[in-house]
């Protein structure tokens, strides 16, 4: 008898294990490694948020809360959605979870039956297809080329939807590419979705406060309010408020869906940490200046990184509108050999050689279902980024 269930066996082992194992060993051996692989801000959680957490624990907010989160936080989330996204939700249309990941997990497990299809534009965060697979669904990946800014084209969305499609999952701005949709681009997608009323829409907007160059991000519901009764708007405090470790994500959606997710959460984890919920209330409703100051720093770093990468022979990097990632093509380096004599046969070989020879950790594109690229996170101190870019330039110049 096998130890693990069929559903667990369907999960692919992490593609980044080889790289993270080498990175850990190099660090343990005292090597200088700059990590550009992390998906979290390098900033600390704002002080007012920490103070709110401390006040909550001292007040004794250390008991179970409602499974779907405290009334205070659900109200704060409605304020946030109205203020930042222009979407009106009622508290009963909100669920709080242990990270946005649990929101996705709840939504998929609560809705997917065996064989149901979920349309996911790729490159994508690997958890999307993994969670779909775990919930017995079938991820349908739609490639979005660099020549279209890694954005989904409406005709490709139309072609991917079948009678078995249960969800369309969009990450806007996107991890790993930073691609974000303008109002017109989004309208073209929502027009397609309006023609397919059997499809739920999940829009993961967790990076949408991090947009640059005056770009105005368009959310699904700000563009097409008629989709509200089948759209789940996913968000969280992790990225905008540098609160990854607190594990608070949330979503707004139709009451029936939120109730279904609540029921599932009641059987898997119950409420998210009560202290972290109090911290999230302050993050969402307290001072917002920190968000803007972090955003400004990210914008400078984005430009620094894109310019430096485009000066590297063999690398071609688009300048994305959001998130804190860039997703350069390294296809011009494939087939070459490093200074140390390592052949670069694919993106993983590139990332491994860059790590081994220059001490720069990145994630290769295959881990985002889209090989030929690497993901670089610029959520790192600016000086470190400068040094990393120097190393990448040296690495590329050494290829022959």
């Amino acid at each position: 008898m096998s130890l693990t269930s069929e559903r667990l066996d369907r999960i692919q082992p992490s593609l980044t294990i080889a790289i993270s194992t080498v990175a850990r060993k190099m660090i343990a051996d005292g090597k200088n490694v700059i990590s550009l692989s992390q998906g979290e801000p390098d900033f600390d959680t704002p002080r007012n948020v920490k103070d709110a957490a401390i006040a909550a624990m001292e007040r004794g907010e250390t008991k179970y809360t409602d499974v779907a989160g405290t009334q205070a936080l659900r109200k704060a989330v409605t304020v946030k959605f109205a203020r930042d996204e222009g979407i009106d939700y009622k508290p009963e249309e909100i669920i709080i979870s242990t990270g946005a990941k649990q929101v996705l997990f709840n939504a998929m497990v609560a809705t997917l039956n065996a064989g149901d299809e979920v349309v996911i534009p790729s490159p994508c965060w690997v958890s999307y297809p993994d969670i779909v697979t775990l919930a017995d669904g079938k991820p349908v990946l739609v490639p979005c080329g660099q020549n279209n800014g890694f954005k989904l084209r409406p005709e490709d969305l139309e072609a991917a939807i079948t009678p078995k499609t249960r969800w369309f999952m969009l990450n806007n701005p996107c991890n790993p590419t930073g691609a974000a949709y303008s109002k017109e681009e989004m309208k073209a997608l929502t027009d397609v979705l309006m023609r397919h009323p059997h499809v739920w829409v999940l829009t993961d907007d967790i990076y949408d406060s991090l947009v640059y160059g005056g770009f105005k991000p368009a959310t699904v519901l700000s563009v097409e309010p008629k989709l509200k009764d089948r759209t789940l708007t996913v968000h969280g405090v992790s990225k905008a408020y540098a609160m990854t470790g607190w594990r608070i994500g949330f979503a707004g959606g139709p009451v029936a869906l939120i109730k279904a997710m609540d029921k599932l959460q009641s059987q898997s984890t119950s409420n998210p940490n009560s202290i972290a919920q109090a911290a999230a209330v302050e993050a969402l409703t307290g001072q917002q200046e920190t968000v803007e100051s972090m955003r400004k720093v990210f914008e400078e770093r984005r430009d620094l990184v894109v310019d430096a990468l485009n000066s590297c022979p063999g690398i071609h990097c688009s300048r994305p509108d959001g998130a804190f990632y860039v997703y350069p093509s390294i296809q011009g380096c494939i087939g070459k050999t490093t200074k140390a004599g390592t052949p670069i046969k694919d993106d993983e070989a590139f990332a491994l050689a860059l790590l081994a020879e220059e001490g720069v950790a990145t994630v290769h594109g295959a881990a985002f279902c889209y090989p030929g690229y690497i993901r670089i996170s610029y959520a790192n101190a600016t000086e470190e980024l400068r040094e990393a870019m120097t190393r990448i330039q040296r690495f590329c110049q050494g290829l022959h």
Binding site: R7, G60, T98, N113, R166, R247, T269, N271, N273
Partner: protein, 401 residues
């Protein structure tokens, strides 16, 4: 129109204790004086040193993604805890940290149970075991543990319930909702049966392990039968022992391949556990334990009060349990009677609803734990409130005709 939901969700329901708590809250909001005896959480505060540790963690910037299976500091504290409290030795890679003990169970069941697999659950039991099993397409196989055996599972009944399709046996000591706790000898008898069935995993949910009374010694299967340790998952947490329900930190010790599978599962569901919660949990496990003793004394005092007053109530007979903060009185003597409000009591749910709506005492009916006709009464309630609730139950019974 809505695009619809999964079949598996249709197999799951909202826990009755939650439904009753919500009803009680609604009555309270309507201005009624409600005594709530439904909650499964201590009425004490979290220890100050745990709060201080969380405070320090936040201030020093311990606010980044934690490892998915728990921080090293907390896992080391858990390793010390298993050794100290149960004599169990686990390596760090044999320990997993989750969002509450509930997620440990969820991970374990999701990671191992396929359609048609059976999970043997002695009842009365916490509803989550059966619900999680059904969510995964498995079949809960319920083993009756009647009051005349102190609500404890008998080894021969477990033996009879096991088939080639059995994947897990679930033990919950002390038990929610009865408070029953098996002795080392009783567990040894179950272990002897389990040796005959090497294809079955054993889940020992010891969440209430410290809440035992009258000098009772808690025992856990992996320690009683070390030869079964490589297929036993020992689950505990800080919620009940340290009054830390809101922090959501539970943990488990078990064989490495199972812990690894549970971590993969957790990586897809929630990733890691709140860093401040983990810092608080480590401090609670390693810090002074005298606060626990104070709580145990309070729970024992309240158990004695509840058992005495319930046995004085007409039509109720209440067993005195070894541990936890619940009593599980039998209300068979109330059935077939009519309340002062004119309601006919046909089953325990009727009793539960009449108590709430006529006397504003919230309890949970036994059927919600797979055994009727009983009520679950939580003693995790302040002494005077508990006394008030018990008096109302006596008045309620007095009025039955």
């Amino acid at each position: 129109m809505s695009p619809g939901f999964s079949q598996r969700l249709g197999r799951v329901e909202l826990a009755a204790s939650v439904r009753m708590t919500i009803k009680a809250r609604e009555l309270k909001a309507a201005g009624k004086s409600v005594v709530t005896l439904t909650t499964g959480e201590p009425n004490f505060d979290s220890p100050l040193h745990a709060i201080e540790a969380a405070h320090q963690a936040a201030l020093r910037g311990d606010t980044k993604y934690p490892p998915q299976d728990g921080t090293k500091a907390l896992k080391e504290a858990i390793r010390r805890k298993f050794k100290r409290d149960s004599g169990l030795v686990y390596a760090l890679d044999e320990i997993a940290v989750s969002n509450g003990g509930k997620q440990c169970l969820f991970n374990a069941i999701m990671a191992t149970v396929d359609d048609g697999d059976e999970v043997v659950i002695p009842v009365p039991s916490w509803i989550a075991y059966a619900q999680m099993t059904q969510l995964c397409g498995g079949t809960p196989v319920l083993v009756n543990c009647p009051q005349n055996n102190g609500f404890k599972p008998r080894a021969e009944d477990i033996d009879a319930a096991i088939t080639p399709k059995t994947k897990w046996l679930v033990l919950n000591n002390p038990n929610n909702p009865t408070g029953a706790c098996c002795s080392a000898e009783e567990i040894a008898a179950i272990a002897a049966v389990m040796r005959k069935h090497p294809h079955v995993w054993i889940l020992s949910d010891d969440m209430y392990e410290h809440l035992v009374f009258d000098g009772f010694q808690h025992a856990t299967l992996a320690a009683v039968a070390p030869d079964l340790k490589d297929r036993t998952l020992t689950v505990s947490g800080v919620s009940k022992t340290y009054a830390m329900t809101g922090w959501r930190v539970g943990f488990a010790g078990g064989p490495k391949p199972l812990i690894k599978a549970m971590t993969v599962m957790q990586g897809q569901a929630t990733a890691g556990i709140s860093t401040v919660g983990q810092a608080a949990a480590a401090a609670a496990l390693d810090g002074p334990q005298d606060g626990v003793q104070v709580q145990i004394e309070a729970y024992q005092r309240r158990r004695d009060l509840a058992v005495k007053m319930l046995n004085e109530a007409k039509g109720i007979s209440c067993h005195k349990p070894e541990g936890a903060f619940y009593v599980f009185p039998n209300v068979a003597g109330c059935l077939g009677k009519t309340t002062t409000g004119g309601r006919l009591l046909r089953n325990d749910e009727d009793v539960c609803l009449a108590l709430l709506e006529e006397h504003y005492v919230a309890t949970v009916h036994g059927a919600a734990y797979h055994m009727s006709p009983y009520l679950r009464i939580s003693t995790a309630t302040a002494d005077d409130e508990l006394l008030d609730g018990l008096k109302r139950i006596q008045v309620f019974c007095e009025g039955l005709h």
